[in-house]
């Protein structure tokens, strides 16, 4: 599966965080790489959305939507925003 950019999930992020997030700063919890959210690698398999670090490929964020509820896992991030 090919990655798109964090920019592509700007709408989803806005839904979850209530504000524009694609220009927000993020730091990878595994390798420490700092990037704007728009620069992260986004994979969208059928079940949800997986955001990975472009340096070390670690999973940073996972979003799964079920019945209008979005489950959010941000454990791969050291900091966001």
């Amino acid at each position: 599966m090919e990655a798109v950019d964090g920019n592509a999930i700007g709408g989803l992020l806005c839904e979850v965080f209530g504000t524009e997030m694609t220009a927000a700063a993020s730091v990878c919890g595994s390798c420490g790489a700092a990037r704007q959210v728009a620069e992260l690698a986004v994979y969208r398999p059928a079940l949800g959305t997986v955001v990975r670090c472009r340096s070390c490929d670690s999973v940073l964020m996972v979003f799964v939507k079920i019945h209008d509820r979005t489950c959010v896992d941000l454990l791969g991030l050291a900091t966001l925003g």
């Binding site: 798109v4 950019d5 709408g11 806005c14 694609t22 728009a38």
Partner: protein, 247 residues
């Protein structure tokens, strides 16, 4: 930055299609009448949501094709196996309703004060947000020098061809046609790679600002070549939209 516009809650709303423009055999521009549009920045996108009779929902993102201050427009390429685009390009007519939310994105945007010189690199329908930037530059009277390299499969696949044939002052448009070229074609006829960029890109010493939009393979090749030629990574803004679309 339109701070207040960005902080407002992003909600779905119903827009009305006010015009459908044929761009190429598979590409249409939909001009939309959006009652509660807060205004957008050049380079932003919006989300479209289609709901079928049994409640199945499909969402897709589309770059905004128009400049800030112009009626909202999106340009859609028909993907034969797509869930959303065939409906948008083949079924929708002026007067139809369409559910959307936006504007979205604060990264792949350009304002005149961001300066340049600008290097715009488009693969296929990746031209759409870059066209918004070009129109915004012209409408604001910016004199930032621009080079646009636009990679398409064939001349018939070039979107906004008439508009790009008459660029504003200070804008240079360079085409490359990767699959076939018409007789007498004097432009480039190869993929956008390091060698081609060495010929057309501003030198890194000019401190250019680059926007790259297209299929993932195009964006990866172009952005890596730019960084290797000395562009600082933070001056190369990218927007990959997956494997779809042709370059």
């Amino acid at each position: 930055m339109a701070g207040t516009a960005l902080r407002r809650r992003l909600t779905w709303q119903v827009a009305k299609v006010s015009a459908v423009t044929v761009e190429t055999a598979s590409v249409r521009t939909l001009t939309l009448d959006v009652p509660d549009w807060p205004g957008h920045q050049a380079g932003q996108h919006l989300d479209i949501r289609l709901t079928d009779e049994d409640g199945y929902v499909a969402e897709r993102s589309y770059s905004i094709a128009s400049a800030p201050g112009e009626p909202v427009a999106i340009t859609v390429e028909r993907l034969d196996d797509g869930e959303v685009s065939p409906y948008l390009t083949d079924e929708l007519r002026a007067g139809d309703d369409l559910e959307l939310r936006g504007p979205i994105g604060g990264y792949f945007v350009w304002e005149p004060e961001n300066g340049g010189p600008l290097l715009l690199l488009a693969g296929g329908s990746g031209i759409v947000p870059l066209r918004s930037i070009l129109r915004h530059r012209e409408r604001t009277g910016s004199t930032v020098p621009v080079r646009l390299l636009y990679s398409s499969r064939t001349l018939d696949d070039v979107i906004y061809r008439a508009e790009l044939d008459q660029p504003a002052s200070g804008v240079e448009v360079i085409h490359t046609l990767t699959r076939s070229q018409p007789p007498g074609w004097s432009g480039y006829a190869r993929r956008a790679d390091a060698a081609l960029l060495a010929e057309v890109a501003w030198p890194a010493a000019a401190l250019p600002l680059a926007y790259v939009c297209g299929p993932t393979s195009f964006v990866e090749a172009v952005s890596q070549a730019l960084v290797q030629s000395g562009y600082p990574p933070e001056r190369v803004k990218t927007e990959r939209f997956g494997a779809t679309g042709g370059t």
